[in-house]
């Protein structure tokens, strides 16, 4: 996934800023609801866009564990930042959505499906990690026997415009997860932003490739020229820069077995002294899919609705069954989250649940970095620190 930039660039074209503006206008004219990055509230967030003027021109981000800041760039790049707190998950698997409604009548109950039809989305600025996250969520939401019709409807109609990263932050580790920084499939169109000078003139262009017939069709309608060696070289240099700026690796080798086999690692106690169990990591994660439901009833008691909303395995209520909470401790909740993400996700869906976007690192209020936690668990396992061995727990005790 997403490593060989050369192949994707073979049939590349070049469009300028005007061409990009036309692309966005054209998609809106075709009935798509355009969603992409925009600067708001001190962050690059995703929102519905009218067109190219809503993009965060001249902004960049600085990200570290527990830190995110917007800064001005010294150019007018439209995509000169990496991922913000939002992912496209909020449009495919909405934070709150009505599942169904029911009307109580004298002769019983009548159920009907919730909500209006979803908009047909065009997503702009889908980074390689977010594209990989969509593939992960596809397996969860529509790849099993039970398909989520809400996700399916939104996903199947969506037009995807990827933007290959030309920069990375210390929180980024998509290369470790085989997810980026260059996406090589799954998009309709993919852009690499190229800024520079040519013959003394400032240039602001996009090397663009199509990944699907409808992407080709959209590209054909734009004023473009074939990409020359110069532009391709500039694009490749950008991809390499992103690869080079990537932060520490997540050592994926054997991580599935490592977490499965170390549920009693002392590191879980260690991280629990720092983790606030706030759930930020699950909300910014582009693959976390857990949800809960809420029922509402009108005052007359005739009409009720069932709403689904994102949930987090870091809350106590998440695991509540009558008689108590299955995971009362932060230790158990963090262990559940990380073990699910990097280990049991494979058992369930045949893939890692992590794409290396780094959002959970940036948006953790205390700067817990899963890469460091995995490394520490591995160190302790290798050193064979005395763990709370499972064999010494109650079964060896007296009769029930």
């Amino acid at each position: 996934m997403g490593v060989d930039a050369t192949r994707t660039l073979e049939q590349a074209a070049v469009i300028d800023r005007e061409g990009l503006a036309l692309l966005l206008t054209g998609l809106r004219d075709d009935g798509y609801t355009l969603v992409g990055p925009t600067a708001r509230d001190g962050a690059i967030v995703l929102d519905e866009l009218d067109g190219i003027d809503d993009l965060p021109a001249g902004w960049t981000d600085r990200q570290e564990a527990a830190s995110y800041r917007l800064e001005r760039r010294d150019d007018d790049a439209l995509f000169g930042y990496v991922v913000g707190p939002h992912s496209f998950k909020r449009y495919l698997h909405p934070p709150r959505v009505k599942l169904w409604q029911v009307r109580r009548r004298d002769d019983g109950m009548e159920f009907s499906r919730g909500g209006a039809a979803a908009p047909r989305y065009a997503f702009l600025g889908v980074r390689a990690c977010d594209l990989a996250a969509m593939r992960v969520q596809d397996r969860v939401m529509i790849g099993q026997d039970a398909r989520d019709p809400i996700y399916a409807e939104r996903r199947e109609g969506a037009f995807l415009i990827s933007v290959h990263c030309t920069e990375a932050r210390s929180t980024c580790f998509c290369a470790s997860m085989g997810a980026g920084p260059v996406a090589d499939a799954g998009f309709d169109l993919a852009l690499t932003e190229v800024l520079g000078e040519r013959d003394g003139e400032p240039r602001h262009e996009f090397v663009i490739t199509a990944g699907t017939p409808r992407g080709q069709e959209a590209l054909r309608r734009l004023p473009s020229r074939p990409a020359g060696a110069r532009e391709l070289e500039a694009a490749r240099a950008g991809h390499e820069r992103a690869r080079g700026q990537m932060g520490r690796r997540l050592a994926t080798e054997g991580v599935r077995a490592l977490l499965r086999d170390n549920p009693e690692s002392p590191q879980w106690d260690d991280v629990a002294t720092r983790c606030l169990s706030c759930g930020n990591c699950t909300l910014v994660c582009p693959t976390c899919f857990c949800s809960t439901v809420e029922d509402t009833v009108d005052l007359k008691g005739e009409h009720a609705e069932r709403w689904r909303s994102w949930d987090s395995c870091f809350t106590g209520e998440f695991s509540y069954i009558h008689g108590g909470v299955v995971r009362p401790s932060t230790r158990a909740r963090y262990r559940q989250w990380l073990t699910h993400k990097l280990s049991t996700w494979f058992d369930q869906f045949g893939t890692s649940g992590c794409v290396g976007c780094g959002r959970c690192v940036t948006w953790c209020p205390v700067g817990i970095d899963l890469r460091a936690e995995v490394a520490a668990i591995r160190r302790r396992a290798d050193a064979d620190e005395p763990a709370r061995a499972t064999s010494s727990t109650p079964d060896a005790g007296s009769d029930a």
Binding site: M109, V140, D145, P149, A304, H322, V326, P394
Partner: protein, 269 residues
């Protein structure tokens, strides 16, 4: 994800806090036929949806649920009367391996409300008694007043089922056994090399039952238990019921103990 309208056709108050309801479709739609051990999601208007095991005879086609009032939705369930409406989704999950138990001795062990998901198995034995070897039903309850399906024990015994009851505590008038259900296991007379066991109750009770059964010589692959976890969707999408790599709603709730036993020892998994 849309419930199907059902209606209560029969109501039985089992104990002070437990009610059995038989339900039937209110319209043309109905859920698929269930297998013993599977569960439904029951929607109670305005109170929410709860996973409830199916506790009636799968062959007779009647859909029966027994529930103890412990939360808002289960209390609403227990308040339903004949003719009242509810919504049903299901059936979900894995089932007791009743067919594989044919020709073998069978041990059924229930703690409290745990008898509810096992009753379809007992019904199967009652209706096809000749297909099984020696069959024992060990029932544990908090007090004699908490015993479920007490009026049916005589029917079961009449079909050559060894029904034994024990309670945690009892008034002076109780002439039966007092003690843990696990204490009955060593006295079982079964062909342990081939027998199957089906156990439902609190996790700690199931763990100690598995231990006692192992001591009798019954392999953990032939001891089946049911897990309980929080469930919202019942189709593996909401994430609440995760138990290690499993979604209890679809990979369970019925498991061979050999699969889940080691995981039960990991606290707060």
């Amino acid at each position: 994800m849309l419930p199907i309208p059902y209606r209560v056709t029969r109501r039985v108050r089992e104990t002070a806090d437990t009610v059995t309801l038989a339900v039937a479709p209110a319209g043309p739609d109905a859920i698929r036929r269930h297998r013993p051990g599977q569960f439904n999601m029951l929607y109670l208007f305005g109170a929410g949806e709860i996973p409830i095991s199916i506790s009636g005879d799968a062959e007779r086609g009647e859909l029966v649920h027994t529930t103890r009032a412990v939360g808002a939705a289960s209390r609403a369930f227990c308040r339903l009367e004949e003719g009242d409406a509810l919504g049903v989704r299901g059936p979900f999950g894995t089932h007791w391996p009743v067919d594989q138990a044919r020709g073998r001795d069978l041990v059924i062990i229930a703690g409290g409300i745990g008898l509810a998901p096992l009753r379809p198995v007992i019904d199967r034995v009652v209706n096809h008694r000749g297909e099984f070897g020696r069959v024992s039903v060990l029932i544990g309850a908090r007090t004699p007043a908490d015993l479920l399906y007490g009026s049916e024990h005589a029917t079961w015994r009449a079909r050559d089922i060894d029904v034994r009851v024990t309670v945690d505590a009892a008034p002076g008038s109780w002439r039966g056994r007092i003690g843990f259900v696990t204490q009955l296991i060593p006295t079982l007379r079964i062909d342990a090399r081939a027998a199957a066991a089906m156990v439902c109750g609190p996790e700690i009770m199931m763990r100690f039952c598995a231990r006692e059964l192992r001591a009798l010589g019954l392999a953990e692959e032939r001891v089946y238990v049911t897990m309980e976890r929080s469930m919202k969707c019942a189709i593996g999408l909401c994430g609440h019921c995760q138990f290690g790599p499993d979604f209890v709603c679809k990979d369970g709730p019925v498991y061979p103990y050999a699969r889940v036993g080691p995981r039960m020892l990991i606290r707060e998994l």
